[in-house]
Amino acid sequence: MTAVDAPEARVIFERPALLEERTTHYCPGCGHGVVHRLVAEVLEELGIGGRTIAVAAVGCAVFAYDYLHVDFVEAQHGRAPAVATGVRRVRPDAFVLTYQGDGDLAAIGTAEIVHAAARGERITTVFVNNGTYGMTGGQLAPTTLLGQRTTSTPLGRDARLNGYPLPITEMLALVPGTAYAARGSVATPALIGKTKVMLRRACEAQLEDRGFGIVEVLSNCPVGWGMTPVESIAQLEVVAATYPVGVLVDRTREG
């Protein structure tokens, strides 16, 4: 047997160019990092990074502009879809993206996301649902599971006091302006791959002028959940029982 050098090793996986080579401020194991990478890959594959104007939402991922190599505007908490609408209407050639957390999108920003969808606004929303307010210390989010302990539901979420988990993406899927809505997850390599396909479809819904596109990504917040990263990834299976993964609506094939 002869051993030889392999200078032309095939690259199976490498960091996408649109993802800045910089240490993120995210906690170890935080799902935001995976979603960032997927976004970078999709923009890159679609060749639209150079005309992307993204909107950063308030939440742990507000610093997305430090990691994604595209233009960014920072929105007020919850208002990213409205900010994106402003961008959209004056920049017909831009690709417009919002990146929002579940506190941002499903709580304070409910009106803005619903009406961006209702208008069929040609924007794409990446919605990272980690079931909590990561940035402010792990409080209850609209998406928190029943029974889940958070810093503002120390005894676990009680439907009577704190309400039910909100199926916001299902609600958005009802709106005719929503061209594409899907729910992915960072739980496994396979689901991550599936999520990437969803993101691509949601971007294409905009590029093909179909309407509003959104992908909810079930993600982990190990610190907010009081778990190790590995435990938190396993927990995503429990989360998916309340929030089933899959395509919720695809109107891009119509008309």
């Binding site: 401020h25 995210y26 906690c27 170890p28 935080c30 742990c60 610093f63 990561g134 940035m135 610190v223």
Partner: protein, 183 residues
């Protein structure tokens, strides 16, 4: 007499809790104390700092011009707070993570806190080890008060961990370099 102590490093080193122990001990001794946290932009594992001011009189400013003690558990925290060290200040660094040369007029205590903490039971005890070392040189508060503070704070929630904390504190207090320099 007012003493300002800063403990600085990254989250996960237990330094906010350690500051609380110190503050609680001061309270137990009937003294005035002010505990001020501050976090960096990183969610976890990022920079974190805790200032504790202990005094025999009501405390005015929460911001100090000089530090009596700086516990620097990382290099950036030394860079950030080192400029407040003055003649006679005590600087404790974790030699496992920070390398530093002697500074004129400043008492340097260079001890492998992380290693000692791991030896005492967990790398989360690093700040408590450092606190022990500080107290050996600067008895800002008495050991008894610190023990009762640990009992109140750690003991209340995790009595099973208390012994480990005591061990870490002792390790810090008895670590060779911690004994007064002239000794």
């Amino acid at each position: 007499m007012e003493r300002a102590i800063v403990i600085s490093g990254f989250g996960g080193q237990g330094l906010l809790l350690c500051g609380r122990v110190l503050a609680h001990a001061a309270m137990v001794e009937g003294r005035e104390v002010l505990w001020i946290p501050s976090y960096g932009p990183e969610m976890r594992g990022g920079a974190a700092t805790c200032t504790v001011i202990v005094s025999d009189e009501p405390i005015g400013s929460p911001i100090v011009d000089r530090l009596d003690v700086l516990v620097a558990l990382t290099t950036p925290s030394l860079e950030k707070h080192g400029r407040l060290l003055q003649e006679g200040s005590l600087l404790v660094v974790d030699s496992s993570l920070v390398s530093v040369g002697p500074r004129a007029g400043i008492e340097l205590l260079d001890i492998p806190c992380t290693q000692l903490a791991v030896a005492a039971g967990s790398d989360k005890l690093v700040s408590i080890v450092a606190l022990g070392a500080v107290l050996a040189r600067r008895p800002v508060v008495g050991e008894a008060a610190v023990r009762s503070a640990l009992t109140a704070i750690v003991g209340a929630k995790h009595p099973e961990l208390l012994a480990m904390d005591f061990a870490a504190l002792e390790t810090g207090m008895r670590t060779p370099g911690a004994l007064p320099a002239q000794a």
